[in-house]
Structures are given as structure tokens and as C-alpha cells.
């Protein structure tokens, strides 16, 4: 982790470099924290117990471990993808206690007692969830990397609409939101698909929702 002191130093370096851009050679000043390196200490760990796809799991984790890495690296549930690790892409979407979240943006140890559903918990190749099936039928993917996140999001989005939760494009906050393409596009916009399968993904979701577009 960068300390604020280091940040200041490098920020000043940037400013200094900008002012001195006429010089051909500029030394970028960097702190000498190395000299004061503390001896290696094991990182703090903590125990956490939660339920993943209906199974109780107990882990002892480096407290810096994200929920995403707990799933992928510790439980080997690699269906949940890491696209950015910074909450910018939605590839890591999982459903926690009924609500979708970006699992890269939350530490695993914050989820004591939670019920977590990942793509593996929705269905398997032999017993696919209706949404998974619809993605195959409508070719709602290409490379497949954003796909588990899209599907987890899609499942949760339909529940959100059913629960009456409004979105940015819901015109009438007094009325129950409907499953429309505009609503779906808005609610799915946290899940980037660089392969650009959006048009097909919306077809798959409307198919599962049982609405005619």
C-alpha cells in the first residue's frame, strides 16, 4: 500500500517534472522508505464462515482478501471472473443475501454468515438455470468472460424489478417498475461486455422474464 507520504512525494515528482520538462534528464524523486523496511511479519488473518451455493464454507484468510479472490483462489470457484478488480466492469458479480454485488469491491471477512450465490450455484452444464439456457439460445456472449457476471446480474435484476425497486429510468416512482428493454439496459449497465453481446443479452433476459419485447 502506498502511504499518503509516498503519494505526496510522487505527486510532487510529477509536478516538478512538468515544470522542468525543458530539461532533457529529470530525476524523479522517490522516497527512501526502503532503508527503514520493517522485518517481515505475517499478515493478519481472520476466520470467516459463510454459505456459498448452499454449502457452509470456513476460511482463514489474509484480511486483505477480496470476496472475489476468496471464491476464485481459495474455494476454486473460478466461474466468478476478475475483469478489473476495481468495481468497473461487473465481471465479478455475485448474489449475496439476494442482492447482486461486485465481489471485487468487498473483503471476504465482511461476509460472516452471508449466503452467497455464484454462477456455479445457479446451474451446472447438465442442469442449467433458465437464464443460462437463454444465454446459450440467444448467443448472449462471445468470449464468455463477462458472462457469469451478466447472468448473475440478470437473475438479480429480474428480482429487483419484481421487488419494485426503481432505477434511474423508471418514469413513475409511484408505480411498480416493468420489465422493459430500457429498464433492463439501464440496470445491466454495470456489466460491461467488450465482445458487445448486449443486443442478444437483452433478448435472453426478456425471454426469461416472459415478456414480449
Amino acid at each position: 500500500m502506498q502511504t499518503s507520504e509516498e503519494f505526496e512525494l510522487s505527486r510532487r515528482g510529477v509536478l516538478a517534472g512538468g515544470a522542468a520538462s525543458v530539461a532533457t534528464v529529470t530525476l524523479v524523486p522517490i522516497g527512501t522508505a526502503a532503508a527503514a523496511a520493517p522485518a517481515a511479519k505475517s499478515p493478519p488473518t481472520a476466520k470467516v464462515a459463510f454459505e456459498v451455493n448452499g454449502k457452509k464454507r470456513e476460511l482463514e484468510l489474509d484480511t486483505r482478501t477480496s470476496l472475489l479472490d476468496a471464491l476464485r483462489e481459495h474455494l476454486h470457484l473460478t466461474g466468478t471472473k476478475k475483469g478489473c478488480d476495481h468495481g468497473q466492469c461487473g465481471a465479478c458479480t455475485v448474489i449475496v443475501d439476494g442482492r447482486r454485488i461486485n465481489s471485487c469491491l468487498t473483503l471476504a471477512v465482511m461476509h460472516e454468515g452471508d449466503k452467497i450465490t455464484t454462477i456455479e450455484g445457479l446451474g451446472t452444464p447438465d442442469k442449467m438455470h433458465a437464464m443460462q439456457d437463454a444465454f446459450v439460445t440467444h448467443d448472449g456472449y462471445q468470449c464468455g468472460y463477462c458472462t457469469p457476471g451478466q447472468i448473475c446480474s440478470a437473475v438479480a435484476v429480474l428480482d429487483e424489478i419484481k421487488a419494485g425497486i426503481p432505477s434511474h429510468v423508471t418514469a413513475d416512482l409511484g408505480a411498480a417498475p416493468a420489465v422493459t428493454k430500457v429498464e433492463l439496459r439501464e440496470r445491466m449497465s454495470g456489466n460491461i461486455c467488450r465482445c458487445g453481446a448486449y443486443s442478444n443479452i437483452i433478448d435472453a433476459i426478456t425471454d426469461v422474464a416472459g415478456v414480449k419485447a
Partner: protein, 733 residues
């Protein structure tokens, strides 16, 4: 098998399986999270350690000193790789800059160290303790400022930097109607969803990498060269690739550093490029400045076509070949193209989806729209009038097939083009509405491609090739090809891809993958059919259908040929000179309707249609997806995608998915795609071409032309953001 005369009738023409819209055979794996991507292969090697890459904080200069003490002392750290301790490393043929920098630094975020630790968290924390002092040198980062220093580049990808036919200057000067305009396209990032990632393991002097790579054989060769070890000692395995778009054509820092890290740590090491590092560490589509000059007669016949492009790259790099399509797209007796290349010390420029044509058509197809307006002509009529069925530079050389006009006319009818009004004349509430069109053009390329097919007693056919599936649908079209050839249903075919232990394919790039790789499978299946017929003692004209082989009155189960052991056949498709005799290209027309907020200038894409003529479409379902995905990327290029250059420090500022904006669900309407019925016998026995890059060609210009039609504001500098419209929009009534 050599393909040197146009294809006649062959088993693919039955089109019982090939040509049918088919669900992806790997779909159930991808949708359930069970398709294994590179970083996820926990099962392939025990005891994997984690590597974290450190990137250079300067763009150009050198590392004055590096202090690794604190990082080494950090918990869990096993090894640190730097150029200092990595041993001698050569640069790969496909890389412009070295994958591991130091002491010399060639670009910002060039990898300079890999910290290997027991856990990801430990590696990441220790990487932040690496202390580096740099001696920064001045670099060139501004394309516009550098174009006066740009020089004529060496020919690249078979593209001459300068071409000339007739007398362009005189014809342009004499043309009664002239257009002379400058356009700019910014740097673009592939931004594929799966970061570059590799797990590497050594066994003695043998290296295996599980990685995410489009071109297996190229990359094995480059890795061997870089490490100075024989190719035979390296295995690449890349069965699933989370998007590439050209960004994974070549080895990147993850694969080299994983290999070096594994050696240093004496255990398997996994490395993924952190998202914020990817954009400056890897390659991008270079920005261009383009000048297009079109001269026409008063009735719209083009007499002079000139297209120049300037781009930049690191020393030793190449130009963005943005003028390529202009040599072939329209008739016109007097023509010139020119490319000039400046040295820029930005990260490495390289291929991104439809390199050349994508940015080239962004300019050319606005220019055609502008010319149509000057002529008072419909832009479709202008394009149709200037169609050519032969290579305009060499009229003795015909196009193998060219249905550009039909694409335009079919699309016009379907899209309701006749309702298009004058610029700024259509309103829908607060929205200014407009329609735009552009031609799509991308050359067809074929590459040698080999495959192995195995027939088991059960009648199951297994295909093995090092071909890759980057989301293109390779698994499925390879299975369709083998099923059609061997007369078995799709579920009797197993497809194994992406392993360098398999026969060398054309790989995925340049939209050559589909036709080339299936042609290789075709060749191998022809051999397997011969082996089956011989084994069963059947006449050579036996028919393969319904899991049986039939000749005369005999009908035998296919699997019977393998009762005393698997039958294996391997072959490679190679090409004669048909691509020289015939210009093989793919064509299309993009139609776009936009709404532009009359108050804010916000642009929303409302409708999109592509009509494509691209040879036989092997799987219309996956091909459609390739096209809509490319249309989406084209909409991004039109409206939002731009790597912002810090011209003082020489890096792309918006180097993550929050800053580099790509289209999201809310940006993209329902998209329609029409494929014209075609089969091109000059391309291969498959009679197919590619569509994955055709789909992006022209899209951005169609959007730009629609914005013009909506507002009357012509924006020539992409992306068309609202600041470029504000203040120029028609007055509100």
C-alpha cells in the same frame, strides 16, 4: 492439401450442419462458469505462487537504481525478477518494445519487475515496496506535433506506403466538385474483459504456459527466441480466451514474467496484468491524422481519390495502415495513397480489430458523405455509381465476389432510408433525429492451417488443432465442419483447441480464422474419409451420412472403421495464387439512426443495421454475434473511445475501465444483421470469408454521418462527444 483452383462441389455444400444457426457447443461451459480461462487452471500444476507486475513510472529514459530490499523482506515474498537478474533475453519478433524493461525504459508502464509471493495479496503489497529511481528523458508524445518529422515507413503487411495510379494531382485540380478534408482518430484500447494472464511451470528445461493467446505458434516461436531455448521445449495451452481483438496476438509481459518468475521461484507462478496496467503496458490502436481528397464530375463520377494518413509508433514500429481500403473500395482513374510514420514514445501501437480499415473508413466514409452533399446526391447513390468489380489499380484483376451495391440497396429498403430528411430537419420531442450510412470493407485473408482428426470405435470424431476461439465461435464451426464432412451429428464431434501440441493452425486474427481453420479441418477430414473407405474396403465415392458410410448397397457404421484401433488423419490446407488472381474482400453496409439531444448535444444510437456480403456464413448465429459485437465497438469508436494522452509525461491517462469508456448496455439498441447469400469458391473449399472485422468497418462513420444528418454539425475529430456539438446545434424554436 493445396487449394489452387476454385472449389467445385464438395461435401460442405450439402449444408446440413454447416450454414445452420447453431448454438455454441461450449455454451453450457461458458454460461455455468466451468470453462477454464488462463488464470483459473488450479488443477494443471500444484503449488502455484502469485506474481505481481511492477510497471515503469516514466515513459522514456532509464532506471538509475532499483532497491528491492523492502520488497524482498516483505512477508511471503519468494523471488523478484528484474532485467538485472533475469539473464539474457532477446526481444520477440512480434514485439516492438521489450516485455521486460530496464535499465532502458521504452514506454510508460513497461514491466520492470515481477514480485512473486505465496499469495496475491502479499505479492501486490510487496510490489508497492519496490523502490526505483529513474533518469527521465524527453520523449515525443504528441502526434500532431510530430507529423512534420514523420517519414515514409517500410512496407508492412504487404501494404506499400505510397501508391499512385494515373495523375491524381492534375485530376483533382481539374475536378468540378472537390472535397479536401482532414480527420483524426484517437488511440483506442482493446479493453478485452479478460486481462492478459498466464500460469507457467517448468519441468527441468521444459516450460508449459497456460495462457490467453490468439496465435499459438507465433507466440511459441517468440517465447523460444526471447528465452533462448528450443521451441520444442515450450508448450502453450490456451483453450479459452476472454477476448483479444488483436491485443493477444503476441506474447505480453504476463507470459514472459510468469515463465521467469517460475524459474526464479522454482515453482509454478501465475500472473495477470492488473487492469490499470494493461492499457499502457500492452498494445493499442494508434491514433491517426488523415487527409482525404475526392474529386468528382458534376454527376458524381469519382475522377480523383487521394488518402493520406499519419500515425506514430515506437522506434522500429509500423504505421496504422489507414489508407488500405481506399485502394480498393471505389472506382476512379486517378488515385494516390500515402502513409507517414512518426516516432512516438507512447506505448506500442499494434493491431486492433480491423487494423487499417477501422480508422481508415472512419475518415473515408465521412468524406464520401460530405462529397455526396456537395454533389446534391444521395450518399448511397454516390457509392453505387462508383462501384467497381475489378481492382481499380489493376483492372485485369477482378474481385472474386463483390456485392457492395446489393448490401447498400438491401439495407436502404430494410432501414427505411427513403425517410431520411435534410440535416437538422427531423425532430422527436427534444431529440434531433438523423440517419447515416457507410460502406464496410475488409479484405479476406487466408493462412495455412492444419488439423488432426481422430475416429473412435464409438463413431466419435475428435478434432485437434492449435486454432483458438476468442469468442468468435471457432469450437462450433470446427465441429460443424467435421460433422458435415464425416456425416455425423454435431454431438458426435469433440473439438480440442489452443494447445501447441496440436497441428499448427492459422490462429485468430485479421478475420482469417474461420475460413482458414475450417479449411484445415476439411483437409484433415478428406484424409480421414480416405482412410475410412480404405479400411472398410468401400468404393472411393462412398457417401458419409447419418453416422454411416454407404457405397453401392453396403452401409457400414462409421465407427466400424475404427474397431481395431483409432483412425487418425492429419493434413494442412495451403494456398496457391487465387488470392493474387482475384481480389478477395468482404463487403457490407452499416445503417445507423441517432437521436441528438437538442439541448445538451448528447448522442444516443437508436437503431443499427448491418448488411454483410462475406462468402458462406458457416454459423449465422455466431457470425451475427461477431457483427453486432463489432458494431458495438464501432459505436464506441464513434462516440466515446479515446485514450487521452498526457503529452508531458507520455502515457495514456485514462488507463482503466472507468476512464476508458466503452459502450455499456444502455448505449446499444437492438441491432439487426442481414447476411447476403454467398459462397465464394476462390477462398477455400469452405467458400467462406471472415466477418469479425468487417462488422466494425464503417460503423463509426455511419454514426458520424447520422449525427450530421440529425444536427447539421459535421464533426471530423473522433470521438463525437457533446462538447464538439454544443454551441453549433440548431436553434431551439
Amino acid at each position: 492439401m493445396k487449394f489452387d483452383t476454385p472449389a467445385t462441389t464438395n461435401p460442405i455444400d450439402q449444408m446440413k450442419i454447416v450454414g445452420k444457426p447453431t448454438n455454441r457447443i461450449e455454451g453450457p461451459l461458458k454460461t455455468t462458469g466451468t470453462a477454464p480461462y488462463a488464470y483459473e487452471r488450479h488443477d494443471v500444476a500444484a503449488n502455484q505462487a502469485y506474481g505481481y507486475v511492477v510497471g515503469s513510472a516514466i515513459a522514456k529514459g532509464r532506471i538509475a537504481s532499483m532497491n528491492l530490499d523492502a520488497a524482498r523482506a516483505a512477508p511471503g515474498v519468494i523471488a523478484i525478477v528484474t532485467a538485472d537478474n533475469a539473464g539474457k533475453l532477446a526481444k520477440g519478433d512480434f514485439n516492438t518494445a521489450k516485455l521486460l524493461g530496464g535499465p532502458d525504459i521504452e514506454h510508460y508502464h513497461q514491466a520492470i519487475a515481477l514480485v512473486v509471493a505465496d499469495s496475491f495479496e502479499q505479492a501486490r503489497a510487496a510490489a508497492s515496496l519496490v523502490r526505483v529511481e529513474y533518469a527521465r528523458e524527453k520523449g515525443a508524445f504528441d502526434l500532431a506535433a510530430a507529423i512534420d518529422t514523420a517519414i515514409k515507413p517500410k512496407a508492412s503487411f504487404g501494404t506499400e506506403p505510397d501508391t499512385a495510379v494515373g495523375n491524381f494531382a492534375a485530376a483533382f485540380a481539374a475536378a468540378p466538385v472537390q472535397l479536401d478534408a482532414r480527420y483524426t482518430t484517437p488511440d483506442h484500447s482493446h479493453a478485452m474483459m479478460e486481462p492478459h494472464a498466464t500460469i507457467a511451470a517448468w519441468e527441468g528445461d521444459k516450460l508449459t504456459v497456460w495462457t490467453s493467446n490468439q496465435m499459438i505458434a507465433w507466440s511459441v516461436g517468440d517465447m523460444a527466441k526471447t528465452l533462448g531455448i528450443p521451441k520444442e521445449n515450450i508448450r502453450f495451452d490456451s483453450p479459452y480466451i476472454g477476448g483479444g481483438f488483436g491485443g493477444k496476438l503476441f506474447n505480453r509481459a504476463d507470459v514472459l514474467l510468469a515463465a521467469l518468475g517460475a524459474k526464479a521461484a522454482k515453482r509454478p507462478v501465475k500472473v495477470a496484468l492488473p487492469r490499470p496496467l494493461m492499457i499502457n503496458n500492452t498494445t493499442h490502436r494508434p491514433a491517426t491524422i488523415q487527409r482525404v481528397r475526392l474529386g468528382a464530375t458534376a454527376d458524381g463520377k469519382l475522377t480523383a481519390i487521394g488518402h493520406e494518413s499519419w500515425s506514430g509508433d515506437l522506434p522500429g514500429g509500423g504505421p496504422e495502415t489507414a489508407v488500405a481500403q481506399t485502394r480498393l473500395l471505389y472506382a476512379g482513374e486517378n488515385r494516390m495513397t500515402a502513409m507517414r510514420l512518426a516516432v512516438l514514445d507512447l506505448p506500442e501501437g499494434n493491431a486492433m480489430r480491423a487494423p487499417g480499415e477501422a480508422p481508415g473508413l472512419m475518415a473515408l466514409e465521412i468524406a464520401v458523405d460530405e462529397l455526396a452533399e456537395k454533389l446534391g446526391m444521395d450518399p448511397i447513390a454516390l457509392r453505387v455509381l462508383n462501384d467497381t468489380q475489378v481492382d481499380p489499380e489493376k483492372p485485369s484483376r477482378p474481385f472474386s465476389q463483390r456485392q457492395l451495391n446489393k448490401c447498400l440497396e438491401t439495407g436502404a429498403a430494410k432501414f427505411g432510408w427513403s425517410k431520411r430528411a435534410k440535416p437538422g430537419a427531423t425532430r422527436d420531442g427534444r431529440w434531433l433525429v438523423g440517419m447515416g450510412v457507410a460502406a464496410a470493407f475488409r479484405n479476406n485473408l487466408n493462412g495455412p492451417s492444419a488439423a488432426r482428426v481422430r475416429l473412435a470405435k464409438s463413431g466419435v470424431v475428435t478434432v485437434e488443432t492449435d486454432m483458438t476461439d476468442i469468442g468468435t465461435g471457432t469450437y462450433t464451426i470446427v465441429a460443424q465442419t467435421a460433422a458435415e464432412m464425416m456425416g455425423v451429428p454435431l454431438d458426435k464431434v469433440v473439438v480440442k483447441l489452443g494447445d501447441s501440441a496440436f497441428p499448427v493452425s492459422a490462429g485468430s486474427g485479421g478475420q482469417w480464422g474461420a475460413n482458414s481453420s475450417t479449411a484445415g479441418v476439411y483437409a484433415a477430414c478428406v484424409k480421414l474419409r480416405e482412410a475410412v473407405v480404405q479400411k472398410l474396403g468401400l468404393a472411393s465415392d462412398a457417401v458419409f451420412a447419418d453416422g454411416k458410410v454407404k457405397a453401392g448397397r453396403r452401409s457400414v457404421a462409421l465407427g466400424d472403421a475404427a474397431t481395431d484401433g483409432e483412425l487418425v488423419a492429419e493434413d494442412k490446407m495451403e494456398y496457391g495464387d487465387l488470392a493474387e488472381k482475384f481480389q478477395q474482400s468482404t463487403f457490407g453496409a452499416h445503417f445507423v439512426e441517432v437521436g441528438v439531444d437538442a439541448m445538451t448535444g448528447e448522442v444516443r444510437v437508436r437503431r443499427m443495421l448491418a448488411v454483410c456480403a462475406a462468402g458462406r456464413i458457416l454459423n449465422p448465429k455466431a457470425a451475427r454475434s461477431q457483427v453486432i459485437g463489432a458494431m458495438t465497438m464501432g459505436a464506441g469508436a464513434a462516440l466515446m473511445e479515446e485514450l487521452a494522452v498526457d503529452k508531458r509525461f507520455g502515457f495514456f491517462v485514462n488507463h482503466d475501465l472507468a476512464g476508458y469508456e466503452v459502450p455499456v448496455h444502455a448505449d446499444i439498441p437492438h441491432q439487426d444483421v442481414i447476411f447476403l447469400d454467398e459462397a465464394d469458391p476462390t477462398t477455400s473449399p469452405m467458400k467462406a470469408k471472415g466477418v469479425g472485422e468487417l462488422g466494425i468497418c464503417g460503423v463509426a462513420a455511419a454514426v458520424a454521418n447520422a449525427v450530421y444528418n440529425a444536427t447539421g454539425v459535421r464533426v471530423r475529430n473522433y470521438p463525437i462527444t457533446l462538447d464538439k456539438l454544443l454551441g453549433k446545434l440548431p436553434d431551439m424554436v
